[in-house]
Amino acid sequence: MALIHRGIHRLGYARIALKDSRLLKTREFYTHEMGLLETGIEPNRVMFRCWHEPYKFSFVVDQSDKPGLVEIGLHVRDDIDLDNFQRKLTAAGVAVDVAEADTELKGLGKSIVFDVPAGPRIRLFADIQQLGYVSGFEGPDWVAPKAIRGTAAPLNINHVAITSPDPERCSAFLADMLGFLTSEKIVDEKGKTISALLFRMAKNVGGQEIAIYPGTEVKLHHIAFTKEDSSDIMSDGYFLKSDGVELDLLGPLRQPYGNTFSVHFFDYCGVRLELCAVGRMTEVHPEIQPVVWSTSNLREALSYYDEALVPEEFFMPCL
């Protein structure tokens, strides 16, 4: 007899598609400004990881005529988890496709993929190629490699934010089918959820792996990466600005919704990115209670500082 952690263990990757001519510009941005490490290049694809991640990739950009969020990859423990999820989803009438190892993405093990109602496409996998830590496994300095200092060089992917025409339905599916829990949510006057921050991890820059915002259709809102703390966010803000990167919103902001300190900005192709710190320490436990925000306090929830922030503009998707 033994206890065992089951289900989704971590956010594995975000995968987006951009129109073909943009891929070279994208590579330059993500290596020279974002400070990600390029780990795979194929004719129509480029893969990146953050310097603190031991796995092959956490961010994938495809060349495609259909730009958008392709899928969110979530890492489960083993094939038992994959089988359990496949059975549960199929029983609920969800169409599930299976991809053998290395067929969908090089370095990815066997995976199952499905569409979340009013939500993103999700791919679950148990195995992904390991490159090991860049700082090694023996007495590592845990310092960003010299080649990417002066760039944002985040430690990890943190969360993916999407817009949804039905945030309540989308978050209910993620909770019921995949075991996600809610750290914070925004409800309207009728008690309907218009936005939710969902998690499966308990990390120190935490509280969300998938953020759902209201919108007319399922689109990417932003992809967020983890930084050490708020001081880092400030210096990242002026490094990016001085390099001519377009900052979003009103510069660095404290966001009571999620309790983060962050800066949002756009890559050369208009993809919105976030560097974030702080956030909620969560617990994967059925009794955890979310913070609940009213739509009447929406502006204050989205930014503690910026009275000029317009929530409708904030919620605009990017891709």
Binding site: M1, I4, H52, G139, P140, K203, D229, S230
Partner: protein, 307 residues
Amino acid sequence: MAVSRLSYLSIRALDLAASEKHYTEVVGLRVTGRSPGQVYLQAHEAQDHHCIILNASDRAGLDHVGFKVNDPNDLHEAEAGAKAWGLKTHRVAAGNVMGQGEGLSIELPSGHTFNLFYHSDKVGYSYGMKDPDIILENLNGVWPVTHLDHTLLAGNDCDKTAKFLQEVLDFNLTECIHGPDGNPFAFFLTVSNTIHNVAFAPGPPNSLHHIAFYVSDRADVIRRVDMLKHRKVATFDYGISRHGVAGVTTVYFHDPSGNRNEFQCGVYEASVVRNKIPPIVWAGENIPRGVFYYESAVLANFFEVVT
């Protein structure tokens, strides 16, 4: 299911009033309960009933450690697993620990007692759970710690203890320190995505090395060291430092009973899928840099002083 988080440490206090003052005014916790000879405290940004229990005592040190599980049936499974390992267990009645449901107490080979339980009463975040203004007033110069992060325990049979926690309670080994014989002697273990919820190093049975509280910014660690010095709280000789292990920013200090505390900031994320990523190894000449990165030297009293 599984162990979901380090919940609390129940520790001993020589002078209960002095300890309460320390944990509220120096660490920045709030009092959430009292009973004769006991004070319960919690961080402002944690929602369970407590993360520290102070017990009036004639000595310093640890009473027991609380871990939560996320399924009530986990207590049966853990009980069977512990018995199969020949470890002593007993049930702890609901309410025996204030604000808490039934528990299962396991005596580890290291001499420490872990109390596993499912339910904690919710006190919520200090600023409330609905439309919170996230800034707290009247903190007397102490910006709150966000949560209890981890503890380092000292005891015997650390290797056997770490093995039990991995094999029966599904803890994940993230980093370890090896001795000259090539065998690990200190173990950093997690049930979450942080580098460690609990660590074990050799020492007298059932000893406490330190209790770590999380702060969100390195700048805040600096201000805290300034405040510790200003308030003449005994700190470890290095003042502010960085651990090579996990690369976190840190300062150590002592509560009035001599129990060591730590403020820590660092977002190291453990790659938690079990048995996929090998543990980081600190050995030989790397060890001093692993313990104190800048100084790359470990003063003898760092490991030797435990309560």
